[in-house]
């Protein structure tokens, strides 16, 4: 079968470093672990309280059963904190050679020179490198790791953390709120447009590691920012857990675009809560590609709180052998004249499983809401599985809500057509798969579209015959 050879090549990411850790917590989670994390970071009391409250919620919340299989997660066999370097670097040269090599292999320093306004790099539990272009810093743009933000901008953090995703939102948001460490903090002042994207790169290097970054993005009135995050990890036999929380507050007339290229190794549970509040006429875009991980449960959401807010969510999922991508989107219309579009594309192969789970909700009184959802799924062989669970809750008659979806394989006619034009069968499959994902690739800034192609190189050499 031709499809058996279709796989994303992960070998470029599957390397390990024998990092000497500055500090490594023993496995397991207790109240003391939470307190110790807070103490290590010299946090103010309100943050410790925030963590301890969340820890209680975590203990009381059940493990969700509606999605993928979470039964193998053992919360007692995870390291909740690891520190790799003594202090944060602002130049690549300052990083220990082994860690530096990791990011060189991933091509991050090179990309920074060419196409980024700022870079944030997280290794295990903490950010180890952070930089932002001087001119942006001078006009008040803040881009640092969230731990630094708690120290330097406590008022902003205190005001917004847990504002969009409450600590009691779900079990994994509670876990993150209790033990969070690292993540990006962005503040863009009124009217400032950040010209090039800000990027964060998350890397889990150790086995049985839990990474719990907390990202908080505040975009003030009329401001504009694009943020890109990438993630990867080496392949181990023990599973690691990545439970992030991302909160975005988009004020009046602002625009935020959040791009994720999730490329974890296939032994990572990736359980992430991502949510944005969009105020009057704000425009929030989530562009979310899930290529790696063993199980992803991630539904980027936009709550449109005020008139004229808009949401655009693009969700891409690729599930290979042993992977389950349970991804989707949520658009919650809480005000009149708000609109949302959701596009989901999923591909499963070699027994992988993709699920689309989405919600479009319109509350009573939110007039003239428009929303359209389109999900397409490609199943490349007879042993893979694709599910679609869209939820539409409409309490307002003036809303126009549509949803459509198709599921199928690559048509024989399509393959025949392309082969009749001289493409090999393999090239034809390749072209169709890439064309299927064009919606996503088109949303990337040009430099990243090229990097994306490199990042997820489709390896199909010698597949025919």
């Amino acid at each position: 079968m031709i499809m058996e050879k279709l796989a994303f090549d992960y070998s470029g990411y599957n390397f390990r470093n024998g990092t000497d850790y500055e500090l490594k917590f023993p496995k397991g989670l207790t109240k003391e672990v939470v307190e110790r994390i807070s103490k290590l970071k010299n946090e103010p009391d309100w943050m410790l309280e925030f963590r301890l409250n969340a820890y209680k919620f975590f203990l009381n919340r059940p493990i969700p059963t509606w999605g993928g299989d979470l039964s193998e997660i053992d919360f007692d066999s995870i390291h909740y904190f690891m520190r790799a370097t003594k202090s944060m670097a602002t130049k690549w040269d300052e990083l220990p050679a082994d860690i530096r090599a990791t990011y060189d292999k991933l091509g991050i320093p090179e990309a920074e020179k060419k196409a980024l306004s700022g870079v944030e790099v997280m290794y295990e539990s903490e950010s180890i490198y952070s930089s932002i272009k001087k001119e942006l810093e001078n006009i008040g743009v803040i881009f640092c790791d969230t731990d630094t933000a708690v120290r330097k901008y406590p008022e902003l953090v205190k005001k917004y953390i847990g504002h969009v995703v409450s600590s009691n939102d779900n079990k994994f948001a509670a876990l993150n709120s209790a033990v969070w460490s690292g993540g990006s903090f962005i503040y863009v002042p009124k009217g400032v447009r950040v010209p090039m994207p800000l990027q964060a790169y998350f890397r889990i290097n150790a086995e049985s590691m839990g990474q719990f970054e907390r990202t908080l993005i505040i975009v003030d009135e009329g401001a504009d920012v694009t943020y890109i995050e990438g993630c990867s990890a080496p392949v181990y036999s023990n599973n690691s857990l990545h439970a992030a929380v991302v909160e975005i507050i988009a004020h009046r007339n602002s625009h935020v675009k959040y791009i994720t290229i999730q490329n974890w190794s296939d032994n990572i549970y990736n359980l992430v809560t991502k949510r944005a509040f969009a105020h009057e006429n704000a425009f929030v875009e989530w562009v979310d590609a899930n290529i790696g991980s063993r199980l992803t449960e991630k539904y980027p959401s936009v709550y449109m709180l005020e008139e004229g807010a808009k949401a655009n969510i693009i969700s891409i999922a690729f599930a290979n052998k042993g992977q389950h991508q349970d991804a989707g989107a949520k658009a919650v219309h809480l005000a009149s004249n708000t609109s949302s579009t959701i596009r989901s594309k999923s591909i499963c192969v070699n027994g992988g499983r993709t699920s689309y789970r989405g919600l479009v909700k319109v509350i009573r009184g939110a007039e003239d809401v428009k929303s359209s959802t389109r999900c397409d799924a490609l199943i490349l062989d007879e042993i893979s599985r694709s599910d679609t669970y869209p939820y539409m809750e409409v309490d307002e008659p003036s809303a126009t809500i549509t949803h459509e979806a198709t599921v199928g394989k690559i048509g024989d006619e399509q393959l025949f057509y392309m082969q009749s034009r001289g493409l090999s069968e393999q090239d034809a499959v390749n072209t169709i798969v890439l064309g299927f994902m064009a919606d996503f690739i088109n949303e990337l800034p040009l430099e990243f579209a090229i990097e994306f192609n490199r990042l997820i190189k489709i390896s199909m050499e010698g597949a025919v015959g």
Partner: protein, 396 residues
């Protein structure tokens, strides 16, 4: 006396065989074990659970006062088709017993009905039988409880249409709970038409459990009752089996429709098409739960699933969840869902042609249901000259 003792006495008084008593006992214990909505995907949406379920006290009434738990059905003459009371059929008909014993209780309501029914009809269509004229069955719902179990078994190579009407005997509050088992043999077809027009104080809960090796067509119009729960479980178990489901719901005042269609393609070359449509006025609400499963062996199977709501007033609400689960790639599957109101342009167009506003709205609403209503017209107009007029009157 315990609940089980009541059940034993109830069954003995009816002179039921031991297997039937055991069947009821098992269903009773499952009714307390199973959830109202076992599928976790949908368990959030159970607004009227307390009305639509059978409570402990209602079960006790069903066992101790069977005379108050009855439905009455009349049917047209149909030579060749056997129609008899379920109670006598269960004692005598081996195929019916086999079918009933193979049933799986899926949720608490279905199990409670199986444990406590005391009326219903059994319809058996023999092999190689083609009826020209539809069999017509009219069931009346009385005050209080009406727990009904009915079954339709269609043999091989037979073709038949059955029209079921559900009406209220009077204007009193009542509860109609029915389990309907349908078995369709190879190369056969069954067209089942259902019109539910009970009074506005009626709670209706119908479980349709269909195993089809042939063709099954279901066309329904629900415009009566207050809280309505409709469950259709369709298993396409033989290559070439087909299922067409066309349902229309007309909601007024505070009517509530909880509609769940669960379709399983277990074998290859099977086809299902589901089209559920609701027009919702006042503060009525429709919840469409759809679940189509194409299993590994369902190669070359096709499915379409659509759920559409037209909201006519500011209090109306709709929820649609058209779920698909697909385990192989040699299939085609699509679904669609929408929710909207009558567009100003459409109404303006009709009014510019001289139709007053209300008439225009009615026309558009009837037009919205047309994909379902036209199935009634095309299947039944030869036998009921006025079906088109009648259905339109029900809708408006």
């Amino acid at each position: 006396m315990s609940r089980d003792d009541f059940l034993v006495k109830f069954s003995k008084d009816k002179g039921e065989p031991d297997w039937l008593l055991n069947y009821r006992k098992k269903a009773l214990s499952e009714s307390s074990r199973l959830a109202f909505e076992p599928d976790s995907k949908f368990s959030k949406y159970n607004d009227r659970e307390r009305y639509l379920t059978l409570s402990e006290s209602e079960l006790e009434i069903a066992y101790t006062k069977p005379e108050e738990n009855r439905t009455s059905s009349i049917h047209s003459n149909a030579s060749g088709i056997l129609v008899e009371e379920i109670s006598s059929a269960l004692k005598n008909d081996k195929r019916l017993r086999d079918a009933v014993e193979h049933e799986v209780n899926y949720d608490s309501v279905g199990a409670a009905i199986n444990s406590s029914f005391s009326s219903g009809l059994f319809i058996r269509v023999p092999d190689s039988y083609s009826a020209q004229v539809p069999l017509q069955i009219s069931t009346s719902v009385f005050m209080g409880l009406n727990i009904n179990k009915s079954a339709i078994i269609v043999g091989k190579n037979s073709h038949v249409k059955i029209v079921c009407e559900l009406v209220s005997a009077d204007a009193s509050p009542s509860k109609f709970m029915q389990n309907l088992s349908v078995r369709i043999g190879q190369d056969s077809s069954l067209q089942l038409y259902s019109i539910q027009a009970t009074n506005p104080y009626t709670i209706v809960s119908v479980w349709r459990d269909v195993y089809s090796e042939g063709k099954f067509g279901f066309v329904s119009l629900d415009s009566g009752g207050n809280s309505i729960r409709s469950r259709l479980k369709l298993d396409l178990e033989h290559g070439g089996a087909e299922g067409d489901v066309y349902e229309a719901f007309v909601g007024r005042s505070d009517m509530y429709f909880d509609v769940f269609n669960k379709i399983d393609h277990t074998k290859g070359n099977t086809i299902s098409r589901t089209n559920s449509r609701a027009i919702l006025d006042d503060s009525s609400k429709a919840v469409f739960k759809g679940s189509v499963h194409q299993e590994k062996e369902a190669i070359a199977s096709h499915t379409t699933l659509s759920e559409h709501s037209l909201l006519l007033s500011s209090g109306a609400r709709s929820v649609s969840i058209p779920g698909l689960e697909i385990e192989t790639n040699e299939v085609s599957a699509s679904h669609s869902a929408s929710s909207h109101t009558i567009s100003k342009e459409d109404k303006f167009y009709l009014m510019s042609r001289g139709i007053e506003e209300k008439g225009a709205a009615n026309m558009i609403a009837v037009g919205f249901l047309d994909p379902v209503l036209s199935k009634f017209y095309s299947g039944l107009s030869d036998y009921y000259g006025n079906i088109e007029e009648r259905l339109k009157n029900i809708v408006i």
